[in-house]
């Protein structure tokens, strides 16, 4: 019996003291379980307690959670680009001429489905104008997109 207890103690100490999850830095809610945490203690915990789930977000009506305060349920181009990590995806799609992020941008901008191929092609051809530097903001990118669209016969009426 003592040995079994010892075994339990051995196993338990290996969890270490750092089981609490890493944080969304600056987020109001301390966050969650195993998602996004890669430390070995987390793997052990996850194995034993079925490491599912976790998120650090909250609420049904909006996306607000203290990390992302945009809270939008729908997008109009610029607020989509302002989402963390989205601009890089859009930039990559524009560089290549197509992709899901670019499609989503065109939808959020209200580009009709029949104009989308032309929109994407135009964005592809004007990649350097739209992304002039790595420090460009979402607002500037949107402004550059509008400028490019205004110069295009087909797209001018949509911008």
């Amino acid at each position: 019996m003592r040995k079994t207890l010892l075994a339990a103690a051995l196993v338990a100490t290996s969890f270490g003291a750092q089981a609490s999850a890493p944080g969304g830095s600056g987020c109001g809610w301390g966050n969650m379980l195993f998602e996004g945490s890669n430390g070995m203690p987390m793997h052990l915990l996850a194995t034993l307690v079925n490491g599912t789930s976790g998120n650090r977000t909250f609420g049904i009506t909006s996306g607000t959670n203290g990390c992302d305060t945009s809270g939008a349920l729908s997008y109009n181009g610029e607020n989509m680009l302002a989402q963390a990590g989205v601009m890089e995806e859009v930039a990559q799609d524009m560089a290549m001429g197509d992709g899901e992020a670019l499609t989503a941008l065109s939808v959020s901008m209200g580009i009709p489905a029949e104009e989308r191929a032309h929109f994407k092609k135009t964005m592809h051809e004007n990649f350097n104008t739209i992304f002039p530097s790595e420090d460009v903001t979402a607002e500037e990118v949107m402004g550059n997109i509008q400028t490019v669209m205004n110069k295009d016969k087909q797209l001018a009426s949509l911008s």
Partner: protein
């Protein structure tokens, strides 16, 4: 004839009375029970009452335990036209007004917040999303699930869809033991959230490098309406979050069950809700219409690298380090198609390497420069990673095995039971090669002329092989804690141990060679000290052939008291269909004093 007419009139006259259910019947209605989240015996806790304690969710003070009292309070408060309660409980209103034939008195038209939200929310399609395991993180094998709600125009894609997620909230630092305790027995609050699906793509596919499986469900418009209206009712409602059963996956099952209460989803008792089993349950209950695969960024890079020659790979690496390589002769001499692939691989590699941590100005600059190179070359279409077998097609997560063999000159019979999940020689379909995660894996043995003995009990056993290549240099690792029986001196003793260590692995087609350094602490009855410590190494090779898996391994340990142990082994696993396998193993176990050879043949059956 007259009496027949009279009977007919009576029947017709009383029909509305019959059709309208009594309060007692309504309180037992499957949809009412689903609306209140009543546990009808699906999990062990809170049977016969609501899973929810939050008083905000109930209109009657004992609503959590008394479905009929809650029904009557709901009727009373939702019945008046323009009642405020309707705006908090649109799905309940829908249920009661349908069941009780309430007149059309404007219904929910006065609920402007709700109307505005419904207007903005998509509603055309519902999918279950399963972010699968990721490399070097076997615990992610359990996965996670969320719902996605789409606008439904295929050509628009799903980036603008919404993700419905159930998760626990843990605040601040927590002691690990308390954390496990509260995770298992309650104490963490869980909430539903509604976030942009693109954020989930970023979290899983881009940051964590997990493939995502997207299961389109065949919910009808009416069924989706139930789901959405009920989601609104769950805003800011606190659930308990329990890791094992009442977790993210289980709560989604509840939502789907609410949409279609006559489904068989909640019929079986669910001891532990493993997301892969959630998908299987939905599949069995006929909910899954189609399956989409969204590869992780790492798999996208691998697909690009596969198209490159060795020299092109080197060029891509050089380009990722310095974008001006694009101006050099070696790059310019490539065909346009190759230039495109090399530049894309360079960019994907840079992104992958820098996906975490603070933004670096220099990396951002290099990234944009690489995109300009990509932009100048004609895009090669359809570089899609090969789609693996989807996780719900994998073997069952629990396992029983029966077998026998010889240890030295004595025969034995053995039974094995494993609570979860996968070892790296089990049928790899639907799982990640080179990843193993086992919890509560026990073997009991009866040797000729001996009593029944415990041969092995792994409380936890995780092994991860992350192959290294030109582009990625991950460190593999393993950790294992539990009991096993080993030769110490001339006798076999049960040891209680913890062991683990870092390692390296490579991939050569279906073959994965690997090597680990390892440390072990154990308690046994042969050594004088309470805890013996040992250092050693383990090396081997895995071969994932078409119809079998083969593992060769050798392990050597050197103890603090000069004791030595070694164990070379060979294991062959031959899957027979999805849920059976034949396994043969030969190993030699022992030390300088004594060693024996063991042959072992067993039949493995996977279930659940």
């Amino acid at each position: 004839m007259k009496s027949i007419n009279l009977a007919l009139i009576l029947v017709l006259a009383s029909a509305p009375l019959w059709a309208r259910a009594t309060n007692e019947e309504l309180a037992e209605h499957p949809r009412w029970k689903a609306l209140l989240h009543i546990n009808e015996g699906t999990t062990w806790r809170y049977q016969g009452r609501s899973y929810i304690d939050d008083p905000e969710f109930f209109l009657h003070e004992s609503g959590a335990t008394d479905a009929r009292a809650e029904l009557e309070a709901s009727i009373e408060q939702l019945r008046p036209a323009e009642s405020e309660a309707r705006c908090d409980f649109p799905a309940r209103y829908r249920f009661l007004s349908q069941q009780l034939d309430w007149p059309d008195d404007g219904a929910l038209s006065h609920c402007s917040d709700y109307q505005e939200w419904r207007e903005a929310m998509p509603e055309e399609r519902v999918a279950l999303i399963f972010p699968a395991s990721y490399l070097n993180s076997p615990s992610s094998m359990f996965g996670h699930t969320l719902l996605r709600i789409d606008r439904g125009n295929d050509e628009d894609g799903v980036w603008l869809s919404r993700a419905i997620n159930f998760g626990a909230t843990v605040q601040g630092q927590e002691n690990s033991i308390l954390y496990i305790y509260r995770g298992l027995f309650g104490g963490y609050p869980g909430y539903f959230s509604n976030v942009p699906y693109m954020n989930k793509i970023r979290d899983y596919a881009h940051l964590e490098n997990r493939d995502m499986w997207e299961y389109q469900l065949n919910l009808t418009q009416g069924e989706r309406e139930w789901l959405l209206a009920h989601l609104w009712e769950l805003e800011d409602i606190e659930f308990d979050y329990l890791f094992l059963d009442e977790n993210c996956s289980f709560r989604l099952l509840e939502l789907i069950h609410l949409a279609r209460p006559d489904s068989t989803l909640m019929d079986d008792f669910r001891f532990a809700e493993v997301p892969a089993n959630t998908v299987r349950s939905l599949d069995r209950a006929g909910f899954i219409e189609s399956v989409d695969y969204r590869p992780s960024k790492a798999n996208e890079l691998d697909a690009l690298v596969d198209r490159l020659s060795a020299s092109e790979q080197d060029l891509a690496l050089a380009l990722a380090r310095d974008a001006s390589v694009a101006e050099e002769e070696a790059f310019q001499a490539l065909a346009p198609r190759s230039r495109n692939l090399v530049a894309r691989a360079a960019y994907a590699h840079l992104r992958l390497q820098n996906r975490e941590g603070e933004r670096s100005q220099e990396v951002a600059q290099r990234g944009l420069a690489l995109l300009r190179v990509v932009n100048r070359t004609p895009t090669v279409p359809d570089i899609d990673p090969q789609r693996p077998v989807s996780p719900e097609k994998g073997h069952g997560t629990k396992m029983l095995a029966a077998g026998g063999g010889m240890l030295g000159d004595r025969g034995f019979g053995e039974l094995q039971a494993r609570f979860s999940y996968h070892d790296w020689l089990d049928n790899p379909e639907g799982y990640l090669n080179g990843a193993a995660i086992e919890a509560f894996n026990a073997r009991i043995r009866r040797t000729e002329g001996d009593d029944l003995t415990l041969e092995q009990l792994d409380v936890v056993n995780i092994k991860s092989l992350a192959p290294r290549n030109r582009f990625r240099k991950p460190v593999s690792w393993f950790v294992n804690g539990g009991l096993d029986r080993r030769f110490i001196g001339s006798k076999r003793h049960l040891t209680r141990h913890v062991q683990g260590g870092p390692g390296l692995a490579w991939e050569m087609g279906p073959v994965i060679p690997y090597a680990y350094a390892m440390a072990r602490a154990e308690n046994n009855s042969a050594h004088d000290v309470l805890v013996s410590t040992a250092a050693g190494a383990r090396a081997g090779v895995l071969w994932y052939a078409e119809s079998f898996q083969l593992g060769l391994e050798a392990e050597g340990l050197y103890y603090h008291n000069d004791d030595r142990r070694y164990r070379p082994s060979a294991t062959l696993n031959v899957p027979v269909g999805r849920n059976h396998a034949l396994r043969a193993r030969i190993e030699r176990d022992g030390g300088p004093d004594r060693a024996e050879t063991e042959f072992h043949l067993s039949w493995r059956y996977y279930f659940d």
